[in-house]
Symmetry: C2
Subunit: 239 residues, 2 copies
């Protein structure tokens, strides 16, 4: 199966969780909005997104085309890809648990995003800076530690090197991205807290060394973190 990923071409954002899964599995995929040529580029994404004849339009990117299917919502896409790419065990109970964790990661991602956009995503950061300072203070003091310690606790209880135990899964890839993102966007917070989440940090390092992930991270396909994405480095928000 050839997969087509549709996502904003200049940021990691939510699409990155899907890119990591496709890269780890060495899947045959096209990152449509980043390609040039006929039927490619951001215009091609907008066309699928806004097709008035399509009865199952996504609300927002990322979305994935797989044959006749168009699937949106990051966690839903990963739930679909997981078994097909060998990135999740077979048992239904384990898949539900993996998906539950992915949805919890999605909640965390919203909170990261809202540190710089607490008023609304249609305004620039500099137009909502006072609100962002308050929101980020709450995030760094309370919410980020709460989420990160939760994931650490899961790794402690999993009975293996991975969050599901001895079996690697797409959730581990997403946890790698969370650690990498926090290091970029909140280096002070990360420096303060990483000693309290040694298993999470070790997981990050283990994932970064997987052959396909290491190759991906070293390639031009990995878009650098930047101040248009979800994890942004605004020092004033990282006290």
């Amino acid at each position: 199966m050839r997969y087509e990923l549709f996502y904003w071409p200049t940021i990691q954002g939510r699409g990155e969780f899907i890119r990591l899964a496709l890269e780890e599995a060495a899947a045959d995929y096209t990152d449509v909005a980043r390609e040039r040529g006929r039927g490619m580029g951001e215009a091609a994404m907008m066309k699928v997104w806004n097709d008035p004849k399509f009865d199952r339009p996504p609300f927002a990117p990322p979305f994935l085309r797989a044959g006749k299917l168009v699937i949106a919502q990051t966690a839903n896409i990963l739930q679909y890809l997981g078994p097909r790419l060998g990135l999740v065990p077979k048992a239904e109970a384990t898949r539900l648990w993996a998906h539950q964790l992915q949805l919890t990661i999605a909640d965390f991602v919203v909170e990261v995003h809202d540190t710089h956009h607490p008023v609304g995503s249609g305004l620039y950061y500099h137009d909502q800076k006072p609100e962002a300072l308050r929101r980020a203070a709450w995030f760094t003091a309370q919410r980020a530690p709460q989420f990160l310690l939760y994931f650490e606790r899961l790794l402690q209880r999993s009975g293996g090197d991975y969050v599901l135990g001895r079996r690697f899964s797409y959730v581990d890839l997403s946890l790698f991205q969370i650690v990498a993102g926090m290091r970029y966007g909140f280096p002070n917070l990360a420096a303060r807290h990483e000693s309290k989440t040694p298993r999470l940090v070790a997981l990050h390092d283990r994932i970064a060394q997987r052959a396909n992930i290491a190759a991906y991270l070293a390639s031009e396909r990995r878009i650098p973190f930047n101040e248009d994405g979800i994890f942004r480095r605004y020092p004033e928000l990282d006290k």
Copy 2:
């Protein structure tokens, strides 16, 4: 199967989307934190939530116990219950689509919540009122219409009375709750916009008349909307 729902006992909140599904299907369930007696009440919920021996703890309520399974994340619970309660068609593509819509509804619910808690859920509303006024202005002008018109468009394209087409599903129950919640929390916005979403309003009315839902809404099991839940009536936020 006897289901046990664990959620805050005094609000509709996210648990309401699950209560509606269980009620529609006349499922055998206990709303644990709302019951009294041995093994019941909020303390029983906290015990399962914080059990140090449990290797798959939820991050937050709601969660559902079904035999040996404990499942969290509202949309994940509904995805699990859907086939078991006859509330979603069998085809995988349709189930993925239903789940995608439920996740989009979950995103909308976060935005509703953040109108009154833009800084953080650990602070009272009155401690973040200036931020709430700005966030709510963006919500009522941009985001709420965007989501509601999206759902209207889906109903227009579905080819039936329900969001999946001719087949009723748990997603319709959640859309009912969205319309009911907007009428409670944002009556001015609802009054301005309902003429633009006639199909969504008609769906709400159709769901309210289903025998089991009508009985539930008239019962004491339906907790009234209030200012501790997600949909809150703060007139200053509904301009």
